[in-house]
Symmetry: C2
Subunit: 251 residues, 2 copies
């Protein structure tokens, strides 16, 4: 165990993903053309941007009429009113509107602008987060395992800010074939005492592990393979990472 | 660039770290006995616990008299009063005391119980966070680069919770030889437009990348080597990750 090596590397030469592309077919094709062999236990970390694109989660600015509320929030903060409007439409609750636009999305994620993004979208367009990233991950996993015969896992990630810490990081917003948490409950510490509880969000850690290989902006690496990480699956999904309201001390 | 492999692996067979040990000597010795060669560009990720131990940041319960305030917070939440007292002593501000004890520490970190920990401490003792993790990292870096002749970087990490997301993750609390952030400012997106701003907290990502190799509880892997990650150094340190008060929308 202690000599285990965890590796992250991109599927090389991934083509630009376009709306209506079949992402699984694209992954299988690129694995083949780049002579990349998947191994049992590999985790495929997929940028939410390409999931959104292939699920047609793109909105043109010309189709959006900002509401009065969106105009108010935009004017107060010097935000783009259409961006604000889309963030509101994607949200179930607005948490903060002073310098940020923190919302809870319909999938339970708490983030800035409901994760609606302008960068890396075609000019005049906005990319929304996948509607149900856990379901997308689950569907990809099924197809990829069927096609490859390998035992795999999928994590869908998005780059997000944090309340107390500067700088964005990659977070897991969907998963399949891997449990979101590893529980150290019952394990013993260095002094032989049973740990009362210690829950690590392993899919967030894997998401971050993959980000440097993914890069940002024009690097075009939407799928990263993580190898050598030992994990279990569970009934829980990425949605279970979101703290329920009664557990959230900062709402 | 796209075929770059990022790897994380432990320095194997690391001995149990004891108070007053010289951590740099211990690292050099263990590298030698385990026949592990460092390479230029390697990042050594070090668990704060062993930094604290070697800096004698251990307090015995018998030396601590809880204040009235500590007793109140402890009684309200069914917390250990000595644990609360130490968290208060390590803090410059108390932010929340309802079910959690969120504080700002003297080094600017916002976390639960000021990072004071009971697990993996000798029975009846508490481990405090290193007093100045950036300074410790800087000192280790100097010694290790002198001894090995390699260009290295150091990140000191601690496991912490997050306000909106369940499960702990490994975060960077000190660094040297590597910039905390990578700035994508000026880079272009997929459509050739200059990104307004995109700052990634790369040392938090590296901290998480290393955590699975570090493990928790009795796995005893205090130092992990991260190889194949391209980075720059800067004047900024891990302390700069902490949002200044006026930037913190959730205080």
């Amino acid at each position: 165990m202690s000599s285990e090596r965890i590796q992250a590397f991109p599927i090389p030469d991934f083509p630009i993903v376009k709306p209506d592309d079949n992402l699984v077919k694209l992954i299988l094709h690129t694995l083949e053309t780049s002579k990349t062999e998947l191994e049992n236990g590999d985790i495929l970390v997929i940028a939410s941007k390409v999931v959104s694109l292939t699920e047609n989660r793109i909105v043109s600015a010309t189709d959006v009429e900002p509401s009065q509320k969106a105009l108010e929030i935009a004017s107060k903060n010097d935000f783009d009113p259409i961006h604000v409007e889309l963030a509101i439409r994607e949200s179930v609750e607005i948490l903060r509107t002073d310098g940020v636009l923190i919302t809870e999305t319909s999938s339970g994620l708490i983030c800035n602008f409901s994760g609606v993004d302008k960068s890396n979208a075609p000019e005049g367009n906005y990319i929304l987060l996948p509607r149900n990233p856990d379901a997308s991950a689950s569907q990809y996993l099924k197809s990829l395992m069927n096609s490859t015969g390998k035992k795999l896992a999928i994590i869908i990630t998005d780059t997000q800010g944090r309340p107390w810490r500067r700088g964005s990081v990659n977070l897991a917003i969907g998963c399949a074939g891997i449990a979101p948490f590893k529980y150290n409950k019952g394990k013993k510490d260095l002094y032989g005492r049973v740990l009362e509880r210690s829950t690590v969000c392993q899919i967030d850690e894997i998401a971050m592990l993959a980000e440097p290989s993914m890069g940002q902006a024009s690097k075009r690496v939407p799928v990263v393979i993580v190898r050598g990480y030992t994990y279990l699956a569970s009934e829980e999904t990425a949605k279970d990472i979101n703290r329920p309201k009664h557990e959230d001390m900062f709402r």
